[in-house]
């Protein structure tokens, strides 16, 4: 391996070595998704007992929403936390004076986010199947497209957050944990977009996640794949990823103008 793939692997190796050495970090990856699944799983069990078997499909949509939302959230946090790890260890100065290109940095962070997401979400998927009789794979092969869209949306949000950290320094760190939750009400994770007030529906429909969750409910409730939702999700992801990439490129350039790459952690 040489050139860009090797440099990308170099940065990934740095993070993988960190996880190999720190079991609390590894545990933390799966902790929140599993905790979330436990809470929603028990809620689903209660609703099924209370409302009878007629609620089973709705409950499936609920658990599907929990799992797929974790895909988006963990993908976003996978990028931003990996970037913050560099910032916290005051290592960015060394990274940015190496031949690692900015796009290679982003590629490494995205690869790490995929690994982090899979490690974090897989136990929750297993838990849902073992204890709550919900098999997310029952969504069929289209699940891969749902996953892809939610991951891309997570990366777009993450790039925007990293851009804000480059712009505002460590003061913008809380965005890494909070910003995606701000989009959750508009993402229609647990309810259809139609439930939202008419004034905020355009906001929801501008988010790829809302189309993914509409598509998921289409399969679970109606048994049909609504391809136009997937097409909208991919199209919107293309736009948002493009915007986030431009924002990142702009803020990276500005950080070089301001000299923030050395002092960003302070």
């Amino acid at each position: 391996m040489t050139g860009a793939p090797r440099r990308i692997w170099g940065l990934m190796y740095r993070h993988l070595a960190l996880y190999r050495r720190s079991w609390p970090r590894l545990l933390e990856l799966a902790y929140w998704p599993v905790l979330g699944m436990c809470i929603w799983g028990f809620t689903a069990t209660f609703l099924t007992r209370r409302l009878g078997s007629g609620a089973a499909v709705t409950v499936s949509a609920l658990l599907g929403g929990v799992l797929l939302w974790e895909v988006c959230l963990r993908s976003q946090m996978g990028v931003t936390i990996s970037f913050l790890e560099e910032l916290w260890s005051r290592n960015l100065g060394h990274v940015f004076v190496s031949p690692l290109r900015p796009w290679e940095l982003v590629a490494a962070l995205i690869c790490m986010s995929m690994i982090r997401m899979l490690v974090g979400v897989a136990p929750a998927v297993a838990l849902a199947w073992a204890f709550y009789a919900f098999n997310v794979f029952a969504l069929g092969p289209v699940l891969v497209l749902f996953f892809a869209n939610l991951m891309i949306m997570g990366w777009s949000v993450a790039l925007a957050v990293v851009s804000m950290i480059l712009r505002h320094g460590a003061g913008a760190e809380p965005l890494a944990w909070s910003v995606l939750f701000g989009l959750a009400p508009f993402s229609a994770v647990f309810y259809p977009v139609a439930v939202l007030p008419a004034a905020v529906r355009p906001i929801a429909l501008a988010l790829p996640s809302a189309h993914v969750f509409e598509g998921m409910r289409g399969i679970l409730l109606d048994g049909a794949v609504q391809w136009y939702h997937l097409l909208w999700a991919f199209g919107l992801n293309g736009v948002w990823l493009g915007v986030a990439t431009l924002l990142f490129a702009r803020q990276f350039h500005q950080a070089r103008v301001r000299g923030a790459l050395l002092s960003i952690g302070e």
Partner: protein, 260 residues
């Protein structure tokens, strides 16, 4: 200014302005390949800002920088692969072992046979027993040696060192200086050194740039400067410049004495 293909660094009309603050005010200099160039100046003189621009971490307001023949504003990655940097103010990940840290940078710099190179550096810098210890558990002197190993992982042709022996005990400081002298002699590497340790600069540097308020206020070999200011050591020369005092028959500011 004498631009030459044998110069490892060529800087012309370099200016860095932060709002109303002029951090670097139109400096010109060149470092001949194989030379050790010292950047001297008080706090805020512009040393770190200059190094950050040489590394491409910071964009100049105006001026040009060529490093190892590459324009740092257009083609910095070609130069970055052939140079390296060490500073006590930039850390390595503390939870990774020394070996893991060096492997990371071996990958980032596309070093062939990284593990063999790590073993070589470990032998030369006496790091053998430290390789499998987390970087965060090392003493200041050990960290400095590890940082030096990181900066040498790619056998750089240009080494930028920001206060490489700051906070080191005399023994470790001497070890580092001896090693740098040997590395330069063996490889012909160019070294740019920012330091407040005047004895270190006298010992290591073939050329010195004296910076004050973002400007080059004097330059020359350490011996040139000692002769010009009529002093016995560079510390006195530094104080003469920092305090705007001149020794008897003292010089005027000399901008052209050193390879510039």
């Amino acid at each position: 200014m004498n631009l030459s293909p044998t110069n490892a660094i060529e800087v012309q009309g370099l200016i860095k302005r932060y709002g109303d603050v002029l951090a670097v005010d139109g400096i010109d200099f060149a470092a001949p390949a194989g030379a050790t160039l010292g950047l001297l100046g008080g706090n805020g003189a512009g040393k770190t800002t200059t190094i950050a621009m040489l590394l491409g971490l910071l964009l100049p307001t105006s001026g040009s920088i060529r490093v190892l023949g590459h324009d740092m504003l257009r083609d910095r990655f070609a130069a970055l692969a052939r140079m390296n940097f060490s500073s006590p103010y930039v850390s390595l990940p503390q939870r990774l072992t020394v070996r893991e840290n060096l492997r990371v940078y071996g990958h980032l710099y596309n070093v062939r046979h990284t593990d063999a190179r790590i073993a070589e550096l470990a032998a030369e810098l006496d790091l053998g027993v430290l390789l499998d210890r987390p970087a965060g558990q090392l003493s200041a002197g050990q960290k400095t040696r590890v940082a030096l190993a990181k900066s040498l992982i790619n056998r750089p042709e240009l080494l930028l060192l920001d206060e490489p022996t700051a906070s080191l005990d005399p023994d470790t400081g001497d070890l580092v200086r001896t090693w740098l002298e040997r590395y330069r002699a063996e490889t012909g590497c160019t070294i740019l050194l920012a330091s407040h340790n005047m004895a270190e600069v006298e010992r290591l540097c073939s050329h010195v740039l004296m910076l004050k308020q973002g400007r080059v206020v004097d330059r020359g070999s350490p011996q040139d400067l000692l002769d010009r200011y009529g002093r016995d050591d560079l510390e006195e020369v530094f104080l003469d410049i920092a305090r705007d005092r001149r020794s008897a028959g003292g010089p005027s500011v000399n901008q052209d004495a050193v390879p510039a």
